[in-house]
């Protein structure tokens, strides 16, 4: 390691190369704090040339690396690697260009998700992917993990909003993928790169697709006597042929916690709350709203509220997006999963999660993207209690297996990372995983780029109880 570090010191001044315990400590975990690993060093490149030089060094000495933005990964995706370095991309935070006529923005990987939309709002445009951590998470991380948000059914995930990439492969070779168009000539290599969890190198420049801000929104809150009734209401809306921008469900625990935290005006006596939002041209939204109201009237809603103005709408979303950290405050620790089930199996899945929770003697809160069957069971536990973390992990595993049994996926938007890689053989066959490995080795023969993530093989580091992430304690991020 010493010759490698000596060369690294030639590349970086000491204020951008951390090797001492004190400065390495903030990097030992990401949003999934139960895993911790100290890196050998953290470097903070200022430009693409420094990144490429760093990758060439890592390649030469076979030193593994992980690229990291704000470290909000919920799957341990940006966890450091044993005997490896962290390449922090926060200083590459420039929006390089904005092209309103072509509805694109070219950005560096360290740009914060929400900053893209604020930079283009003057042109009437926005960047659609809206993970709950959007005020701190970076585009590079969104790209690596194909982040989602509340609007995926209609608008897709990060992958659907990336047109072109300039990438440094793990050996330092620079390649250009995609172009300025929505379309491609030849295979969609951008599509393959997005969501590859950092296993294919580092994106240096990212051409994002922007959308015009919808002219009009209609946001409806409907409360129900049970989670199941709310789930059935989603089915009724879907069957009516309307395509809402978002459909979200919160359970009683989440509603109460969100109310206590931000006073969103949710009905407090409800067992479940359904939020539905329509967006688009004003005339189209009004016509859809009439059809949606008819559909909702057929469900067993206890109460229906409609946001009267944009302020009320934003408050509804504030409550929704803060729900997780709000519930988290009710408990010393929590774990969150993001498995997906077919929408028609939502009721069955929720009932079984509740049963499994009781069996494990753990509380589980539910806030989820109902439109696309993306669950977010929040398992509450006290890490100081002996065996509680293991019980919570065990329950989380059972929930993932339940999602697979019902025909779904182990992850909708958080990615596999370290956390779920042992479940990959339950979702994919040996043949499928072998193909993933061949592709990985063709791009990164030394397997240095984010080694130990997504693909099963190397053991994950041991679990440890470490409490919430500092950013989470500060209320800056939430786990969804």
């Amino acid at each position: 390691m010493t010759p490698f570090l000596e060369k690294l010191r030639q590349l970086y001044p000491s204020d951008r190369l951390y090797e001492d315990e004190a400065r390495l400590t903030p990097y030992v975990s990401d949003g999934l704090t139960v895993f911790r690993q100290k890196p050998v060093a953290v470097v903070m490149p200022l430009d693409s040339d420094e990144i490429v030089a760093t990758l060439k060094l890592c390649h030469e000495f076979s030193v593994p690396f992980v690229a990291r933005g704000s470290g909000t990964s919920l799957s341990g995706g940006s966890l450091p690697i044993d005997e490896g370095i962290v390449i922090s991309l926060n200083r590459l935070n420039q929006i390089l260009s904005i092209d309103p006529d072509n509805r694109t923005a070219r950005v560096q990987p360290g740009v914060i998700n929400a900053h893209v939309s604020s930079a283009v709002v003057q042109h009437g445009l926005y960047f659609a992917p809206d993970p709950s951590s959007q005020s701190v998470c970076t585009i590079g991380g969104n790209l690596a993990f194909n982040s989602g948000g509340a609007h995926c059914l209609k608008y897709g995930m990060t992958s659907n909003h990336v047109l072109g990439l300039k990438v440094a492969l793990p050996d330092g070779e620079i390649v250009h993928l995609g172009n300025d168009s929505l379309e491609n000539v030849g295979p969609d290599c951008v599509g393959l790169f997005v969501g590859s969890e950092g296993l294919f190198g580092i994106a240096l420049e990212i051409q994002l697709r922007l959308l015009p801000i919808p002219e009009s929104f209609r946001t409806i809150l409907a409360s129900y006597e049970s989670l199941e009734a709310a789930g059935e209401a989603v089915g009724t809306v879907v069957a009516s042929g309307i395509l809402p921008g978002a459909m979200e469900i919160m359970d009683k625990l989440a509603i109460e916690a969100a109310e206590a935290a931000v006073n969103a005006g949710y009905p407090r006596n409800a067992e479940a709350l359904l939020i539905i939002e329509l967006d688009g041209e004003a005339a189209a939204v009004e016509a859809e709203f009439t059809a949606l109201s008819t559909a909702i009237e057929q469900t067993q809603a206890k109460e229906i509220r409609i946001a009267q103005d944009n302020e009320e709408r934003l408050l509804i979303w504030k409550g929704r997006k803060s729900a997780f950290s709000a519930v988290g405050r009710l408990s010393p620790d929590y774990l969150v999963q993001d498995g997906v089930v077919p929408r028609s199996k939502l009721g069955e899945a929720l009932k079984e999660i509740s049963r499994l929770g009781s069996e494990a003697n753990l509380h589980v809160a539910n806030v989820f993207h109902a439109g696309d069957g993306n669950l977010h069971p929040l398992i509450l536990f006290d890490g100081k209690e002996s065996g509680a973390l293991e019980r919570a992990e065990n329950l989380a595993g059972k929930i993932l297996r339940l999602c697979l049994k019902l025909g779904g996926s182990i992850t909708g938007e958080h990615g596999v990372g370290v956390e779920k890689k042992s479940f990959m053989p339950e979702m994919f066959s040996e043949n499928d995983l072998e193909a993933f490995k061949r592709i990985r080795q063709a791009i990164d023969p030394r397997e240095i780029s984010n080694r130990g993530k997504m693909l099963p093989g190397n053991e994950a580091p041991a679990l440890s109880h470490s409490g919430p992430h500092p950013l989470e304690q500060a209320g800056l991020i939430s786990r969804m």
Binding site: L153, L192, S196, E281, A283, P342
Partner: protein, 364 residues
């Protein structure tokens, strides 16, 4: 192809796997009239036409790659659903595997995205005869490499697609297609750019080489006339309705079936680049259509492939040959293929499938 030409019709995955394992070179014969490289084992997936799974309430459908696109569209329509990427060239031979391998999305993709935005699962046979399943069957999934997207536009060069799952959407209650005629191409192009940035959520937004905008709206029937009035106010001109029996993508370039002669090119580009493309290609290309909000150009020409390729190089653009009597797949600017070549090496190490970029030496 000589007299000894034989078209293989495997009826199980294991026969298909053996064909790939035992042949030095394999190609999928999609249409009777498509040219086939010499000395290859030609295969049709005519025996793979099943609808594997379709639950309308899930907004997903899983079909075998040999299924006819027109059949799948009918099955979806019976349940009030559709492919929002608006597949093209849906003649009697068009298959699901074919539209994925070619990446054909139509004007209607303007609203919600192209084919790659709606493919969520895919199974394929790689160059070593392994049957590989990737992606999933739920609308949201982030597990594993996104090989379903990689296969879009791969033209059979990375594997034989056997089955695919798509996200589908509810069919809008009503459609209306209208034209806005401008007195110059430039004015039409300016209007296209303005509409692209506007809050109008247009199903289709195309421009022809005469400066006519071809617009399709969809949604609740009650709202469409009001929305058209708003469009007229913005554009400062009145629309011409397009009659129902003349589907709008036949004007002026027919994108529903392949032309019998000549070359049809698909060029991905940025909407602002259209002005330069039109000026450059007009002399040699009689039919030009700018589609999907101006992000794709469809160009018909009777010129030589090499001449067109040269013109595209001067524009720094590449094109996919959609149809024409040539074995060339991609022409124009020859971008480095280092990433693609590494993937090709991983999935087809013995180069059994077609070479997408025959003139590019491997960089690895």
């Amino acid at each position: 192809m000589g007299n000894d030409f034989k078209l293989h019709v495997p009826d199980t995955i294991s026969v298909l796997k053996s064909l790939v394992r035992d042949s030095p070179s394999v190609s999928i014969k999609a249409r009777d009239d498509s040219p086939s490289p010499p000395n290859t084992t030609a295969i049709t997936l005519a025996a793979f036409q099943k609808i594997v799974e379709y639950q309308p309430e899930e907004y997903t459908i899983t079909v075998e790659a040999g299924a006819k696109v027109s059949d799948v569209i009918s099955i979806l329509a019976e349940q009030g659903q559709y492919f929002p990427f608006d597949p093209l060239f849906i003649d009697k031979d068009s298959t699901i595997g074919g539209i994925i391998a070619n990446g054909y999305s139509g004007p209607g993709a303007n609203r919600y995205g192209i084919l790659r935005d709606f493919i969520i699962g895919l199974s394929f046979i790689d160059g070593q005869g392994n049957h590989i399943k990737t992606g999933g069957k739920v609308v949201k999934n982030a597990a594993g490499f996104d090989i379903p997207k990689l296969m879009v536009g791969s033209r059979g060069s990375l594997g034989i697609i056997t089955e695919s799952t798509f996200k589908v959407f509810p069919l809008p209650q009503a459609y209306k297609t209208i034209l806005f005629r401008f007195d110059s191409f430039e004015k039409g192009h300016t209007a296209l750019l303005a509409l692209g940035r506007s809050q109008f959520t247009l199903d289709a937004l195309d421009l022809d080489s005469k400066g006519t905008l071809i617009i399709r709206l969809s949604g609740q029937a009650a709202s469409i006339d009001t929305r058209i009035q708003a469009l007229e106010t913005m554009l400062g001109s009145t629309h011409d309705p397009l009659s129902r029996d003349k589907p709008f993508w036949q004007v002026p370039l027919n994108l529903q079936s392949y032309p019998k002669t000549g070359l049809l090119l698909k060029i991905p580009n940025s909407p602002t680049a259209i002005a330069e493309i039109d000026a450059k290609l007009a002399p040699n290309c009689p039919h030009r259509r700018y589609s999907i909000g101006g992000f794709v150009s469809w160009i018909y020409s009777e010129s030589e492939v090499n001449d067109l390729s040269q013109s595209l190089k001067e524009l720094d653009l590449s094109a996919q040959i959609a149809s024409g009597d040539t074995l060339e797949q991609v022409i124009g600017t020859d971008h480095p293929k280092a990433f693609y070549n590494r993937i090709k090496q991983a999935l087809d190490p013995q180069q059994k499938f077609i070479a997408l970029y025959p003139k590019t030496p491997s960089s690895t």
